[in-house]
């Protein structure tokens, strides 16, 4: 056997196109074989990342209709009217695999890409939230990734002048080889300026402006984002795009000016799939075709192959469909902002994406001597791309969550381990996942724009809307710990918590964007996790009456270390009609009555306490009653509107004890709490059963608050009052259990921790976990 005899994989397989897919491509080309350029174009557009070929059927089940929805899924971002002639655009997107390979550029271009989705629609970006997930914080590689990603998010966002106002930072062993970098952006636009990604009007010009096209990001979508990959594979670095935030800043200003002046008929940013994606999507939406003049595309370097030009993911580029008479004004705007601009094609009526080498003539037709080097129906690349029916198989042993109200497990393991509840609380507050995120977010500019009313650190971010009394409230949430046990519940809980975080400020959630991070969809158990996640998302959004206005699917999140826990990252934007009613979670005033709304249901699996105490998944996670969740959120918004609330906090990671401790730390006020009838100290103090709130009220308002909760059918109980310099929680068991039992009967478990100690644990936990401080 000689070298020449070594079998070489055919080109389509090397580009990630299966044999079946190649046949489907032939079907869409009238039976002929694609040439190499066409095959390259198909390979990116039919990648999982661009085509949603494994998830499209599932995504159709999501509710997308809702009051005020101006643009929904399929557009670059969701857009919802907020009155006063204004609308909010928002979307979340992943940049997981690039960040695993090259954390700084991966994260930076993740920010750049989602910002383009926002301003492409005519909205000025006003905020970024970044949801980051990594492996063990003590691991050297994790620390390298955290450092690079955080610098990347900051390096890009700080420079373009969009504040980073929130997000998440979560550590879980399942992300060790495959970190998650999900970035959400929010923009504000005047409704009349809404611009769609469409290329209407045969005869119109196709203009490319922004950075020149280079070799970076070749195959980013297909090679990186749509296949399982091994840890830190340096051979894939060339597939990572390189960001230039200064160019992005120029692109924002120039694009918004073009839109404001009515100089574009349609606008699309260039992301995954580059020019191929931008031309085929805009043509398909308008029912037109585009004739691409390959030679006219500005390049960074000579010698680029046609396929490289057509699929390069060079950053900071925009593609506009414009009327010929608009061109001089467009050129003037681009030149003023220092951006190269070129006419790279014509809108046609033949429905095809046609690529010509050798130039076009003055009439926009292929010049004499030119060659047609590719011709593909636009829809074959986009709306008529292949859809795969994947197989979903649930795991052999499925767990059912206990029904609400079921008796608690007798053993909660807290006393068995001889733990002092105060020590547990301090350990949770200082843990990598629950401690203050300040060490990270202080590396971000959270106040540029001068609209940030509440930045990172305390639940939802709040941005005032200038010229109105309104404010936008935004958050991201994802629950992978419960998702690993029950992917339906993990997704539904993520929606419940994200919307609850918005509702407790007094704001009404407007809509949901989501980033679905899952494993290899060709594996039936991974596909089952995805399908259960989508079902949970849909069920929760329907129950809460919220539209899903867009999002992104990231599959193949697997590495040699295994598959990530199913992670549906949920982004929510809410509207507060009157910012003077904005309610914060911090305890407000000594003497205020503390009321607990909702009740503790059994189950500790998936909780921070379970992770700390080593409780295994033999236990169940607490269940979620979506009708109860909806009632809780309606109640708190009404209570705030009626002026009954001094502070409002939800119970989530770390349970009631951590929720109370946070209220105390942020308000710099202690509290004395008495919990009667606690079935189990661990469940009562650290269980994470959802749909619960810690609400405080002036004593004069407490009765009305309790009455309102009862009228909404909610369990409610005054549990103590604000004041002092320590957090005291006395948990009285209804029956003799745990440590109380050991001590012989009905005795209270008491937790008493000075405020100072709570603050210290919470403030330094993250930096210590990451080795940033001793």
């Amino acid at each position: 056997m000689t070298v020449a005899d070594v079998p070489v994989e055919p080109l389509h397989r090397r580009l990630g196109v299966t044999d079946d897919e190649l046949q489907a491509i032939r079907d869409r080309l009238g039976g002929r074989d694609p040439n190499d350029l066409e095959l390259a174009m198909f390979s990116v557009m039919w990648s999982e990342h661009c085509s949603y070929k494994s998830s499209r059927a599932l995504l159709r089940t999501l509710p997308t209709e809702g009051a005020g929805v101006v643009a929904g899924p399929g557009e670059n971002a969701g857009v919802i009217s907020i009155g006063d002639g204004l609308a909010v655009a928002f979307k979340i997107e992943s940049h997981n695999h690039p960040s695993a390979v090259e954390p700084y550029q991966g994260a930076a271009t993740g920010v750049g890409g989602i910002l383009r989705d926002i301003f492409t629609m005519g909205a000025r970006p006003i905020a970024v939230l970044d949801a980051l997930r990594f492996g063990d914080p003590a691991d050297a590689r994790t620390r390298h990734l955290v450092d690079g990603v955080v610098r990347g998010v900051g390096g890009y966002g700080n420079c373009v002048g969009v504040p980073t106002v929130g997000g998440e930072l979560v550590f879980d062993p399942s992300y060790a080889g495959n970190p998650l970098v999900n970035v959400m952006a929010i923009g504000l636009l005047r409704e009349g300026l809404l611009t769609l990604a469409s290329a209407p009007g045969p005869g119109n010009l196709v203009v490319l402006y922004g950075s020149a096209t280079g070799r970076d990001g070749i195959g980013g979508a297909s090679v990186l984002a749509s296949a399982t990959f091994t840890d830190d594979d340096p051979s894939k670095r060339p597939s990572v795009q390189v960001g230039d935030p200064f160019a992005e800043k120029l692109l924002i200003e120039a694009s918004l000016e073009l839109i404001e002046r009515g100089l574009v008929e349609g606008l699309q940013d260039l992301g995954a799939g580059g020019i191929t994606c931008a031309t085929s999507e805009t043509a398909d939406r308008a029912g037109t075709g585009i004739l691409v003049d390959l030679d006219a595309i500005p390049r960074r370097e000579p010698g680029l192959e046609p396929f490289e030009v057509m699929i390069s993911e060079s950053q900071e580029r925009m593609c506009a469909a414009v009327r010929p008479d608009q061109w001089p004004a467009i050129l003037e705007v681009c030149q003023r902002w220092g951006l190269p601009a070129a006419i790279i094609g014509r809108v046609t009526d033949d429905g095809d994406i046609t690529v010509v080498a050798g130039g076009l003539d003055a009439d926009g037709r292929p010049a004499e001597g030119s060659r047609e080097i590719a011709r593909i129906p636009a829809r074959a690349l986009t709306s008529d791309a292949i859809v795969h029916a994947r197989v979903a198989t649930p795991p052999a042993h499925r767990r059912g969550a206990p029904a609400p109200g079921a008796p608690a497990a007798v053993s909660d393991r807290l006393p068995e381990r001889g733990m002092d509840p105060g020590a547990v609380l301090l350990a949770l507050l200082g843990s990598a996942n629950l401690s203050s995120r300040r060490a990270v977010y202080r590396q971000y500019d959270s106040t540029v724009g001068a609209d940030t009313v509440a930045g990172p650190g305390r639940g939802a971010a709040v941005l005032r809307v200038r010229g109105t009394r309104k404010a936008l409230v935004a958050t991201t949430d994802g629950n992978q710990a419960v998702g690993a046990i029950d992917p339906w519940l993990g997704a539904a809980l993520s929606v419940a918590e994200a919307t609850r975080n918005v509702s407790i400020t007094g704001a009404r959630p407007l809509g949901v964007t989501n980033c679905l991070n899952y494993g290899d969809p060709t594996r039936p158990d991974a596909y089952w996790q995805l399908s259960e996640g989508v079902r949970g998302l849909a069920d929760a959004c329907r129950a809460l009456g919220l539209p899903v206005t867009g999002g992104n699917v990231s599959l193949y999140n697997e590495s040699s270390g295994g598959r990530i826990a199913p992670t549906p990252e949920i982004g929510v934007v809410g509207l507060l009609d009157d910012i003077s009613t904005l309610t914060e979670p911090a305890f407000a005033q000594t003497g205020d009555t503390i009321v607990l709304v909702g009740d503790a249901t059994p189950g500790l699996a998936g909780s921070a306490y379970a992770a700390l105490a080593g409780v295994t998944t033999e236990d169940d996670p607490p269940d979620l009653d979506l009708a109860r969740e909806a009632a809780v959120q309606v109640f708190i918004r009404e209570a705030i509107e009626r002026g009954l609330v001094a502070s409002a906090q939800d119970v989530s990671g770390g349970g009631l004890a951590v929720a109370l401790a946070e209220c105390a730390i942020w308000g710099e006020l202690g509290a004395t709490i008495r919990l009667a009838h606690v079935a189990s100290p661990a469940v009562g103090l650290f269980g994470e059963s959802p749909s619960r709130l810690v609400v405080t009220a002036r004593p004069a308002h407490a009765a009305a608050l309790v009455l309102l909760a009862r009228q909404n059918g909610l369990p409610v109980e005054p549990i103590g009052s604000v004041g002092g310099d320590r957090l005291v929680i006395e948990a009285t068991a209804a029956a003799a259990i745990g440590a109380a039992e050991d001590r012989g009967g009905r005795v209270a478990d008491t937790l008493e921790v000075p405020l100072r100690d709570l603050q210290h644990a919470w403030e330094h936990g993250l930096a210590r976990s990451l080795g940033w401080e001793g």
Binding site: C159, F246, Y444, V448, A450, V453, R464, I579
Partner: protein
């Protein structure tokens, strides 16, 4: 008629709109001055806002000083015109030699985005006369290169000439020297802002324009902006908004 105050816009400026908004609130008429223009359009004072003027990949402010508008600003300053540089604007002024000292990378080598407290050392300048001496003012910083540096002799000379106008202070109101967590960037002698020898050009790293409304958590920055607006009105021979309001 409100006094006209220029806000220079470089392509990478990102605090220009915030500054314009705050000037509006302070009773001035903001005038946008594009970086390629050579005229200041007769404004009574100029603000260089924050941002990343030309991307600042090399070093903050290093290219901006060669722009047409900066030649005009330098000439204006040379004639005694009032110029305030905020954050990147301060970096540009330092690079251009219009204020003393240099802004180095933060001691932590990380971007610093947080609230700080600064105190005015002098309240007899065009930029600080509406402030109280040493009263802590809360406002955000957001920069990667804000560590104020000059050699010891130069620092001594600055102190003697009373050219330090703002210092970072801690919770007790004491100067936050390098190493004190209240000093966000390691600035020598806690210096947050300086003024030139003739008293008409000043720069500071914190952002007063982001602390000009109660809804944003602090109005402490307004005193600095009001001082400038008042001084500019006087320089332009106009009635200041405060005096007008007093009548």
């Amino acid at each position: 008629m409100p006094v006209r105050i220029g806000v220079v816009v470089f392509p990478g400026s990102n605090c220009d709109r915030d500054t314009i908004h705050a000037l509006d609130l302070a009773g001035a008429e903001p005038v946008v001055l594009w970086h390629e223009q050579a005229s200041l359009e007769g404004v009574a004072a100029v603000i260089l806002p924050g941002g990343f003027a030309y991307g600042d990949y090399l070093r903050a402010g290093v290219i901006a000083r060669f722009s047409p508008i900066m030649r005009a600003v330098a000439a204006f300053a040379g004639d005694g015109g009032l110029v305030l540089g905020i954050c990147n604007g301060f970096q540009v002024l330092a690079e251009a030699g219009l204020v003393p000292g240099a802004l180095l990378r933060n001691q932590s080598l990380r971007f610093a985005g947080r609230e700080v407290a600064i105190a005015a050392e002098r309240v007899d300048t065009a930029f600080t006369h509406a402030l109280e001496v040493r009263r802590p003012l809360r406002m955000p910083v957001a920069h990667g290169e804000g560590c104020y540096y000059a050699d010891e002799a130069a620092l001594d000379a600055l102190e003697r000439a009373r050219q330090v106008i703002f210092r970072y202070v801690d919770a007790t109101g004491m100067d936050a020297q390098p190493g004190n967590p209240a000093n966000p960037n390691g600035s020598l002698r806690a210096i947050a802002g300086v003024i030139n020898a003739t008293g008409n050009v000043a720069g500071l790293m914190p952002h007063p324009e982001r602390a000009a409304e109660a809804i944003l958590g602090s109005e402490d920055g307004m005193g600095i902006l009001r001082s400038l607006v008042e001084s500019a009105a006087r320089a332009a021979g106009q009635t200041s908004p405060l005096e007008a309001a007093a009548r």
